[in-house]
Symmetry: C2
Subunit: 517 residues, 2 copies
């Protein structure tokens, strides 16, 4: 399936949800709209926002009733902690009362949510179109008749894929292996890379396994279990299961005490900001990293089957690199016959002003595999090269191999993205938000440092010297916001985040900056 989203910012509206935009949304939602938050006047910032809201029943602004957590939440958290680890709990949410960009809690607090479940809610809480799809007979059947997709796929599985997941496949990819979440999406892609490399070295798909391979693998030993590797980048994040964690290099706390494969890492460019003031240094830094990458991938003692990289290192601190860097990496991987896996788990599905962040790079040849999860609400890896299908069945296989219910949901998300033209929305709103933050940075020096994400939709971050205090204080101002790396504040609003939401966010950030100045 060709992607409708490739090389175009404006998307063709779908007839699938053939209803006038706001009227229909209002009527669909009427049964389950949470009560309006007490209107907190949206304070204008910079230039007035004028576009019509996507969801008119959304609260007009945040509304703070108690400290967070308030008394009801505290009681509930104490209870939950008896059976479920709550030490990473950020906020106990009341999703019945959440709507659009706003998340509610048990104590009546309603926050503008620019963290969005770690960048994974695409089109708003209680989105009416998703609600409708979730009530459909098709969804009900997918929930209660969950198939072992590799053995007993449902008869409409090709339709679900082609009208959903594959309709937005990146250029060069026309097949998918579905999975459950980001970690196993990456790990199954790694497995495909290892099988491909072994097959290449063996002399092609027709060459049979040797007896030595067949017996040694049962003892986890070479040659059957070869010492191949995946190369990843320092400060990168690719998941937390054993293979994916071996490529994750974000923070020690993610990795400590867990055995890891002897796989190589190399430096990701650490650029200086603002970019236009450091062009020469940054180009040199990217050149240095590419040279290191080429050296490592061509010399590491455990041969490198694939390189995995995020378009923007997200958990690791919102580290960006230029298209030239990624073009260079693609060239090096081609030269050394190493596969390139682009991990779009956090960057994918519209947040950067393109449907896939790697569309910003204009590569001469596409990535070999692209992984996705989070905003897709399902997961997997895309590929195009038929040699990446293992040469025999049951080599890439598991019981469920994904979840048709979540694939149906992703299709509805894609339809909603088209209907509301949300990829363009993130591009336009992102520029507006970036400009506002740039102005805040000028007004409050030292508080919005290394602002990054220009031209990358709403995928924006900055460093703050008191980051953790900043995040906590944001909640008291009605903003739910997240961090990444050691000192970054990362903005991960939903795709339905509009200029009037940006105005509210900028206003609250301005007040916080004034308090901290």
């Amino acid at each position: 399936m060709a992607s409708l989203f490739r090389n175009t910012a404006r998307l063709r509206p779908l007839t699938r949800i053939a209803v006038p935009r706001h009227v229909a949304v209002r009527s669909l939602a009427s049964a389950s709209t949470p009560k309006q938050a007490t209107a907190a006047a949206a304070i204008q910032y910079d230039e007035p926002a004028s576009e019509a809201p996507f969801f008119e029943q959304e609260p007009a602004g945040p509304s703070i009733a108690t400290a967070i957590p308030g008394p009801k939440s505290k009681d509930a958290i104490t209870h939950l902690n008896k059976v479920f680890d709550t030490r990473s709990l950020n906020m106990l949410a009341d999703y019945k009362q959440s709507f659009g960009n706003y998340i509610a809690d048990l104590d009546g607090n309603i926050l503008l949510d620019v963290y969005a479940q770690i960048a994974s809610i695409p089109v708003g809480y209680n989105n009416p179109a998703l609600q409708l799809v979730s009530r459909s007979d098709e969804m009900i059947s997918a929930i209660i008749n969950r198939p072992a997709l590799g053995n007993f796929p449902q008869s409409d599985w090709s339709d679900i894929l082609e009208s959903g997941i594959l309709r937005v496949a990146p250029a060069g990819c026309n097949q998918v292996f579905t999975a459950m979440a980001g970690s196993d999406a990456n790990e199954t892609a790694y497995k495909a890379a290892f099988m491909w490399k072994a097959q290449t070295e063996r002399g092609g798909p027709e060459v049979d396994f040797t007896q030595d391979e067949m017996s040694s693998t049962m003892n986890n030993l070479a040659p059957g279990s070869p010492n191949f590797s995946i190369m990843s980048f320092k400060t990168g994040f690719h998941g937390r299961l054993f293979g994916s964690l071996s490529t994750t290099r974000s923070k020690a706390i993610h990795k400590l005490d867990i055995p890891a494969f002897d796989w190589p890492s190399c430096s990701f460019p650490m650029l200086k900001y603002p970019l236009h003031e450091h062009e020469v240094e940054n180009a040199a830094e990217e050149k240095r990293c590419l040279e290191e990458a080429e050296h490592v991938m061509s010399t590491y003692h455990n041969p490198v089957a694939a390189v995995v990289i995020e378009p923007i290192q997200s958990e690791g601190g919102d580290n960006h690199a230029s298209p030239a860097f990624f073009q260079g990496l693609r060239e090096i991987t081609k030269k050394h016959n190493v596969l390139l896996i682009v991990d779009e788990v956090q960057t994918g599905v519209g947040a950067t002003g393109k449907f896939w962040a790697h569309e910003h790079w204009n590569l001469s040849t596409p990535p070999d595999m692209v992984t996705f999860s989070k905003k897709a609400q399902t997961a997997g890896y895309y590929f195009g090269n038929p040699a990446l299908r293992p040469n025999k069945p049951y080599r890439q296989f598991n019981t469920w191999m994904g979840d048709p219910a979540r694939a149906i949901l992703f299709r509805a998300i894609i339809n909603e993205i088209e209907r509301l033209n949300l990829v363009e929305n993130t591009a336009v709103t992102g520029d507006y938000l970036y400009n506002g933050l740039e102005q805040l940075g000028q007004k409050y020096p030292g508080q919005f440092n290394n602002l990054r994400g220009k031209g990358q939709g709403t995928f924006i971050a900055f460093d703050h010297p008191k980051r953790d205090e900043f995040l906590l204080r944001a909640k008291t101002m009605g903003i739910n916001i997240g961090g990444s790396g050691a000192s970054a504040v990362r903005l991960r609003p939903m795709l339905i985040f509009q200029k009037h939401h940006a105005d509210i966010l900028l206003d609250r950030l301005r007040k916080m900056a004034a308090d901290l100045a």
Copy 2:
């Protein structure tokens, strides 16, 4: 939460679905019951089955209209294969037309399904009670407002756990870490074991990580990434991601070309059947395996943090061992301070005549962790020891950490198991089925070899000299059945499989045996 299912075969009926059994089911289902299959007269076998059907609208028997795959299925499979690997495809299913124990395809074939999506459908296709729950506002919200459970759990998460997953927690377990599927359930349990072992060696939860640990783990090296191991058993299966695959020892095709950890394996008892004719040899075999296990776990060069074992090795060929073996293993692990992880992914949730298969063992101290998936339709690991909660937050963490929608479904499955008394049903029906197979074995020598699973509910298997032909031929007789290991036919009917279904199965198996005799 104490388990309602422990030490009791008869379950208290729930008031949650407070409706008369058959009347309610019929009325709930009326909107979406598939049309009745052409009644194939159920032929009585051995003794007549007399119990009332759980679902009166279920087809009276299999119905075969075409070869499988038929013309419509063939076309659809060809189409699907362009975008999705279909080489492991067994049967393209039409779930709209499937009901209860019967699976349908596009060509009008309706088969009695004793494979059940690789042992993962618990209470029947289009189960009316699950249908009702799937239409609830609670489910809709869980589907469209999917939380990052570690950060922003929904306010009723403790209730969903306590009234569902934890209500059936195995003895000794009162906490859960939720996951997505069997592989990551096992891998997160392994991670908990490694963190526990490192903490023990470090001197307790209060002892901080050293600088050396913090820096070495970023390069995947010891001491931060220690060379600890998980011991597993030969012919065991624990999943296909990198950590779980390193403990899987079922077949070479599952492991070839994938790098693996240097982790140890040891022999699982290979018992001789019938058991009562080989008591002395089998006891010696189990003793030998225990001695080997103790030797390996106490001497392996990569120190063993935990042993993982299936109560019945399923993918590896339906290999059983006695309670005495498992009691011995528990003693050895205690003695050497090694954790015992029981992998109940395939055996759990009622199929063996107990809710958890390891309840058959009467252990003096419970397993340290128990993993689950498949029939639970969600996944995770149970634990009781508070030291298995890592000493700091964000050590055991990922974005979704499971799926509340699937947790809500599991709760509905538990309710249905209670309402229909399904654990007792598998015990009673299993005995009936086992006896029938034993008689078939006497009548057709050499075709129902090494019959196993006596007293293990419907978790029954036998070896057949022409296994693959046998499985294919079964489809033409209206039976969907699976294999395991090299030569086993494994029966994995749903929990709603009753004596009248067993009669049909036994009748068809008898005809096949007569043809092959």
